[in-house]
């Protein structure tokens, strides 16, 4: 479903990813853990197609297509979703309007019929209910005046509405207290399924107590340094990233 081969990326002239390779199958949940500055967020932005990152080498194949050749909106239509670490605020545009525009833009690109307002609202209502969100929030500007927890929940709602094949979660746990973390994780877990993969990027093991990964990767110095099962996350929690720095420097 996702094949990253030998990915090299520079940002502002500085190499950040230096030969990252990663393969994911449909339905799998992978976690990427790593220290600050290891290239975690860069990876998520490069996959989603944000400007300002230069791919100097390597390939990314997603759903059988050359992901790096596509515009961000086309990647979204193909089923790639990025839950942002810092979701933006869009004053004056209600979440409902935003989501309806997004969903219909994606449907249009896929050659599907756009949803009528009533159909859309029905779908949204169900998803809001599933996530235990307040319907009033949908009328407010996207993320405007939302708490940290509300913003992240809104990301999960958007994920649920857009039903991606691959959801990348960029430090979704940052800025969340334990209750908010639980709620968000439950939302994500409810979306797990055989056709949906998750790439969970995090600094801390804590999130992985709630979203159980199938595979854990350690990213340091722009490369995957180690890959293992959930036990790897616990090891990291115990010993920290120091070992991986050493390994990198030695290499």
């Amino acid at each position: 479903m996702l094949k990253i081969k030998n990915l090299h990326v520079t940002a502002a002239g500085r190499p950040v990813l230096k030969g990252l390779s990663l393969e994911m199958k449909a339905g799998e949940v992978h976690a990427i853990m790593g220290p600050n500055g290891s290239g975690k967020s860069t990876l998520s932005y490069v996959l989603a197609g944000r400007d300002g990152y230069e791919v100097t080498d390597g390939t990314v194949e997603f759903m059988g297509q050359d992901l790096l050749a596509m515009e961000p909106e086309d990647r979204a239509a193909l089923g790639l979703f990025l839950a942002f670490q810092y979701p933006v605020e869009i004053p004056g545009v209600s979440t409902t309007t935003f989501l309806k525009t997004a969903l219909n833009a994606i449907r249009k690109k896929r050659g599907e019929k756009e949803l009528e307002p009533a159909q859309f609202l029905k779908l949204q209502k169900q998803k809001i209910k599933d996530l235990g969100m307040d319907a009033e929030m949908m009328k407010r500007g996207v993320n405007v005046g939302f708490s940290g927890g509300e913003k992240k929940r809104n990301e999960v709602l958007q994920m649920a509405m857009l039903a991606p094949k691959l959801a990348i979660m960029d430090e979704t746990d940052s800025g969340l207290d334990i209750d908010a973390l639980k709620v968000v994780s439950e939302g994500v877990n409810a979306l797990r399924g055989p056709d949906r993969s998750f790439l969970v990027i995090t600094h801390y093991q804590r999130l992985l107590d709630y979203i159980k990964p199938d595979i854990v990767h350690v990213l340091a110095n722009g490369k995957i340094q180690k890959t293992g099962g959930p036990e790897l996350a616990l090891l990291l929690e115990e010993k920290g990233y120091a070992d991986f720095y050493d390994a990198t420097e030695a290499a």
Partner: protein
């Protein structure tokens, strides 16, 4: 554009319009005045309209005064001096060179109208195919005349009003915007060719929204319309004005005057969606939109509300204002000014507080893209006797790209210590991050931009009547085309 793309009923409509055109063509062609401006031209216009002597005298007085007035220089706009002799001041809206059917039109223009959702009847009007402004105002009046008549509402062209209601015209025309006001308003007083008169009698709530589409059709024609709305005690009226002009390479001048008069407890809502031709991507052509709009809240507890969406014109010079004379009267100004390419807009309002407990509210949103320049210019004046006057002003500017400019020039003159004045201003730029967020959700870049800009304007757009709000949102989208990527 093939006929297949046009609905059958549309083609029917065009056919029927063609018939109308054929019947009137001779009359219309004889209605040309020679190019240039002098007293004879003014006499010609007055004679064509079969005006009484007092009207002609009033025009000539204005003209003589106009000759002495300098061009207003204070606005933040630049353009070569206007050659007033190189224009027609009275022209028929139809010539042989005009397109005969939709098939002859620039497909890009048709596409624009399609996006706008402007009904085809109006499209024809805008393009000068077969319908003209006169035709349209006649149709509007005949359709609704009965309903309005039974309510006692007068809604007619200003020329008709000069003939039928001379006392009211003598009393009110020029009473809010005198011919001495400024050079553009003065020119209008001398050469105005048509416009609208609305009179709402005491206690009447106008049973429908009144609307007039203005349009500049003929090359090198100035459009000088004049609108006068009088709302008697405890009456209410909502008036919509839409403006569009076809594409021309030359600059055309539009110097309109609008006067509103609200008596005790009366309310006038005046909404404008201005989409005059803005010029091309290189700044060639486009309308000079030099407009004087002013309302007076003459009576106690009266209310005047201006809402404008300005997306067109090469240059916009416009300050819809309120004179708050009656105690407890309220003035409002809600504005969106969007400029792209080489457009220039210098627009805002004046709120003149004279009566006690008068209140005013100003919400101005400026959006600049391309190499355009947008200025908000507003005056809040509290007179000595205006006890407990209040004003709230909010000016927000949104920049798209690095080559445009946004400016805010608020003037405050306060002569009464009991006044409460609030002013808020922000300037922001659409960030790459916000655009990326939208695109990540599958929304293409231009659509994302439109979404963000419409969100920015929401506070203003919600004051427009429903159909106009939808049209305005689409206009914003069209006006922003080509401003990203």
């Amino acid at each position: 554009m093939s006929n297949a793309a046009i609905a059958p009923e549309t083609l029917e409509t065009i056919k029927s319009l063609d018939k109308y055109e054929a019947g009137f063509i001779t009359d219309i062609e004889s209605d040309f005045a020679p190019k240039g401006l002098n007293e004879d031209i003014i006499r010609f216009i007055s004679a064509k309209k079969n005006e009484p002597d007092w009207m002609l005298e009033s025009r000539l007085t204005a003209y003589r005064h106009w000759l002495t007035l300098p061009e207003p220089q204070w606005a933040n706009v630049s353009f070569p001096p206007v050659d007033y002799q190189d224009a027609y001041y009275y022209a028929a809206p139809k010539t042989a060179s005009a397109p005969k059917s939709l098939d002859e039109l620039d497909p890009k223009l048709l596409e624009t109208y399609k996006k706008l959702g402007i009904p085809l009847r109006e499209q024809e009007m805008l393009n000068g195919i077969a319908v003209d402004a006169v035709f349209d105002s006649v149709s509007v009046v005949t359709t609704f005349r009965e309903k309005l008549h039974s309510a006692g509402v007068i809604f007619c062209s200003i020329s008709e009003a000069v003939q039928k209601y001379p006392d009211m015209i003598k009393k009110y025309m020029g009473s809010v915007v005198p011919y001495t006001d400024n050079k553009h308003a003065c020119l209008n007083a001398a050469v105005f060719t048509d416009g609208t008169f609305v009179y709402i009698p005491e206690g009447v709530r106008c049973p429908m929204e009144l609307s007039t589409y203005f349009r500049i059709n003929e090359a090198k024609t100035g459009q000088f319309e004049r609108t006068l709305i009088v709302a008697e005690k405890k009456s209410y009226v909502s008036y919509l004005e839409g403006c569009t002009a076809p594409k021309r390479d030359e600059n055309q001048m539009h110097a309109a005057v609008v006067e509103l008069i609200a008596m005790d407890d009366a309310e006038i809502k005046y909404s404008t969606v201005q989409n005059w031709y803005p010029g091309d991507e290189n700044g060639k052509g486009g309308i000079y939109n030099f407009v004087t709009k002013r309302g007076i809240c003459k009576g106690a507890r009266s209310r005047i509300s201006w809402t404008q969406v300005e997306t067109g014109s090469a240059i916009t010079w416009k300050y819809p204002s309120c004179v708050l004379l009656g105690d407890d009267s309220v003035g409002e100004f809600y504005s969106v000014a969007l400029t792209n390419n080489y457009q220039q807009a210098d627009t805002g309002t004046k709120m003149i507080h004279i009566g006690k407990n008068t209140r005013s509210r100003i919400i101005a949103k400026g959006i600049s893209a391309g190499k355009s320049n947008s200025t908000y210019r507003g005056l809040v004046r509290i007179a000595q006797k205006a006890e407990n006057a209040r004003n709230y002003t909010q000016c927000d500017s949104l920049l798209i790209g690095d080559l445009c400019g946004a400016h805010t020039v608020p003037y405050i003159e306060n002569k009464n210590p009991t006044a409460t004045l609030e002013h808020e201003a922000t300037t922001s730029k659409i960030s790459d991050k916000t655009l990326f967020y939208c695109r990540q959700r599958g929304i293409p870049e231009e659509e994302a931009l439109t979404l963000i800009v419409n969100g920015f304007c929401k506070e203003v757009l919600q004051h427009l009547p429903m159909e106009f709000a939808v049209e305005a949102q689409k206009l914003v989208a069209i006006s922003l085309e080509g401003s990203v990527g």
